[in-house]
């Protein structure tokens, strides 16, 4: 921490020298923002609009790549060059907040007239929370649900207005819809050995009463057994093991899978590519009346604890939040808020799907939050893959994962 301490001392020294000069000339305060948003995505556009307001705060933007967000942020923070504001993926949030790298915003949020915690979906809000305090503000959110091909449902004698609601119904439907002669699998999803696999599996475990901290519970084992049966019976492509969600859903769009589990980020592509009637329904549950659950994705805003202008940085965040109603209309992302209605797009299939996704968001749960989430996630991915390739039984695989996770949780 040597370098950091010097850097902070240096920063203080610099600040104490330059502060009087700054206030005398009423110079703008500069706030730096890092996120992975491209030019057509929210951050750079909101910043442009904010800078036009001439509030005495000037915001500088830097785009970082998805894979670099954490390592770049960490390097910057440990060498004392962190930005004021950053957008991080929600499962990584706790890594920073637990170590005090992010500023505790609880008091500022309590005083704020713009940011109100009761406006947010519980899942995204939980992901910025660490030990009862808020260390960030959800930026946007997404979740997963079940897409299904209505034309294929009709062709196989299934009611297209009654998509599967339980795991058994899902299996039944997948069996009926699978048609090897026509190159059609019943279901497409992702069990890839990266965060996507965890993202897709955890909701199943949670619906059956499991969770990352009780991953070898009876329900979670049952969930993995169902996954295994889907693959063993060839109701889904064996490539499910190495294919991400985007590629899996691609096979749904091309008519090679009758159902697909994925998120709202697929909508625009599906509207363009899918030459059939489709719908979206909530993720099937273990049995009627069981607890619902889903995954929760997307990024959160946070202010680094090292920021020299936390008040101003929070003002910038307040501005971002005040523009949340543009999130979907202008940028196609779902705001993490339950008080903002998604405006109709004029595309009936998309509007119907969005309604389902917004409903599903109520049940979305964050991954963690835990500072060592990547290790927990890795244990879960290993278990999924060990079971699905038949190298271990679901129970053995999840027991092993539980052991690894226990070591992480301490």
């Amino acid at each position: 921490m040597g370098i950091r301490r010097y850097a902070i001392l240096g920063a203080f020294a610099l600040a104490s020298v330059s502060l009087p000069a700054f206030s005398a000339s009423a110079e703008d305060v500069t706030i730096s923002v890092w996120s992975l948003d491209r030019d057509i995505q929210p951050a750079p556009n909101l910043i442009k609009d904010f800078n036009k307001l001439n509030t005495g705060i000037k915001v500088e933007y830097r785009q970082i790549q998805f894979d670099d967000v954490v390592s770049e942020a960490m390097r910057a923070y440990s060498t004392g060059q962190a930005p004021d504001i950053i957008a991080v993926d929600n499962p990584e949030h706790a890594l920073f907040s637990s170590r005090g790298a992010f500023l505790d915003l609880t008091d500022m949020i309590a005083k704020s007239s713009v940011v109100k915690t009761e406006n947010y979906f519980p899942g995204p809000l939980a992901s910025v929370t660490w030990e009862g305090k808020y260390y960030g503000i959800p930026k946007a959110t997404n979740t997963i649900a079940l897409y299904y091909n209505k034309d294929m449902f009709k062709a196989k004698g299934l009611d297209p207005e009654k998509p599967p609601q339980t795991w058994n119904e899902l299996l039944e439907a997948a069996r009926k819809l699978t048609d090897p002669a026509a190159n059609v699998y019943g279901l497409a999803f992702s069990a890839k050995a990266n965060e996507e696999g965890t993202f897709q599996f955890l909701p199943w475990a949670q619906m059956a009463g499991g969770g990352y901290d009780k991953i070898n519970s009876e329900g979670a084992v049952k969930a993995l057994d169902i996954w295994k049966r889907i693959l063993d019976e060839k109701l889904a492509s064996p490539d499910t093991l190495t294919r991400g969600q985007w590629d899996s859903t691609g096979t749904f769009n091309s008519g090679n899978a009758a159902m697909a589990i994925s998120g709202p980020w697929e909508l625009d592509r599906m509207i363009q590519e899918a030459k059939f009637d489709w719908g979206v329904t909530l993720l099937p549950v273990p049995e009627v009346g069981a607890e619902r659950s889903s995954a929760m994705g997307d990024f959160n805003w946070a202010i680094f604890a090292s920021s020299e202008h936390p008040e101003e940085a929070f003002k910038v965040l307040e501005y971002f939040v005040s523009q949340d109603d543009r999130m979907f209309k202008d940028f196609g992302q779902l705001p993490a808020r339950s008080d903002i209605a998604i405006p109709p797009t004029g595309e009936p299939k998309k509007d119907a799907a969005l309604k389902v996704f917004v409903e599903q968001l109520k049940y979305a749960k964050p991954r963690g939050p835990h500072p060592e989430w990547p290790k927990i996630s890795k244990a879960i991915q290993d278990a999924i893959q060990a079971a699905l390739t038949g190298q271990m039984s679901s129970k053995e695989a999840l027991d092993q994962a539980a052991e690894k996770i226990k070591a992480v949780l301490g």
């Binding site: 390592s71 890839k192 290790k375």
Partner: protein, 300 residues
């Protein structure tokens, strides 16, 4: 004073200067990171202590932890299989092609040049394309094998633990063959033609000429290519990222991909460094063998 100056401009001092300059460069550009990496493997490192050099010393804990993990052994074996099969495949096919184009039929040099296209392509692009070719349901490779009657059902190259490592090996052989071919072609054209004429006059047949002239004359080239091949295959990362991501269940995971996964996915930098150190040891051993095997030729 004058003597020292004279020695620097023309003499021993000049020679030492010539040696020191590249040595200093080597030390700064490769030596320091290497040392840093080794030191890191004996420390407890996390994201927040990345910026400083002084970190808790943990002795061999990282090594012990690493070797007690169940996936370590299979991954090391995978690496050995990947490196040996890739080098063997790249070298044999490359040598075959080099000999073929050496026959100098019309258009040979053009075709040889075109082969280099595969070498010019970025690894991630190659990975993405092979990802499609090897796809289980709609892959071109499966289609070809099925149509020619080699296989009955589709092989899930990327997702079947029995095939996933071979999927990456096939792609890597394709990627590295042309480079082998070009270097070997250069080696072949360096062999004096009169040797062959003399051998032919003495009644040596093609096979004898190959084993008594071509192979011995190519010894240093072959040594260099195998050493380079070892380095390139141990560096091969993009294909794993593009095709299998080390899956399913680590069946196609190798040390270089694993080191990255540990460091930058799980933020376990110490373990990532530990694996790199193990890899360094292997590369060192290989380079000793390489230097010893080509020393004779280098001195002429």
């Amino acid at each position: 004073m004058k003597r020292i100056l004279a020695s620097v401009t023309d003499g021993k001092g000049f020679d030492i200067g010539l040696v020191l300059l590249p040595l200093a460069f080597l030390f700064i550009m490769s030596g320091l990171p290497l040392v840093y990496n080794v030191v890191m493997s004996f420390q407890e490192v996390d994201m927040f202590s990345l910026g400083s050099f002084v970190r808790p010393f943990v002795g061999f804990k990282n090594y012990v932890d690493l070797f007690s993990q169940p996936e370590t052994r299979p991954i090391l074996l995978n690496t050995a299989l990947f490196v040996s099969s890739s080098i063997a495949g790249q070298f044999l096919i490359g040598f075959g092609l080099a000999l073929f184009f050496w026959m100098n039929f019309p258009g040979a040099s053009w075709l040889r040049g075109l082969f280099l296209v595969s070498w010019v392509m970025p690894g991630l692009v190659v990975g993405a394309i092979w990802n499609w070719i090897l796809s289980g349901d709609f892959g071109v490779l499966n289609f070809l094998l099925r149509e020619t009657g080699v296989i009955e059902g589709n092989i899930f190259w990327r997702s079947d633990p029995n095939y996933s490592l071979w999927a990456v090996i096939i792609a890597n052989i394709w990627l590295g063959t042309s480079f082998n071919m070009i270097l070997l072609s250069v080696g072949l054209s360096g062999i004096p033609k009169d040797l062959y004429e003399a051998a032919e006059l003495d009644g040596a047949n093609a096979l004898q000429r190959f084993f008594t002239i071509t192979l011995p004359m190519m010894r240093s080239t072959i040594g260099a290519i195998i050493a380079l091949g070892l380095i390139f295959t141990l560096q091969q990362f993009d294909l794993f990222a593009g095709i299998t991501s080390g899956g399913p269940n680590n069946s196609s995971n190798v040390t270089q991909y694993w080191a990255w996964d540990l460091s930058f996915r799980q933020y376990d930098f110490a373990k990532g460094a530990t694996i790199s150190v193990i890899m360094i040891v292997f590369v060192m051993l290989a380079s000793v063998v390489y230097v010893r095997s080509t020393r004779h030729e280098v001195r002429g």
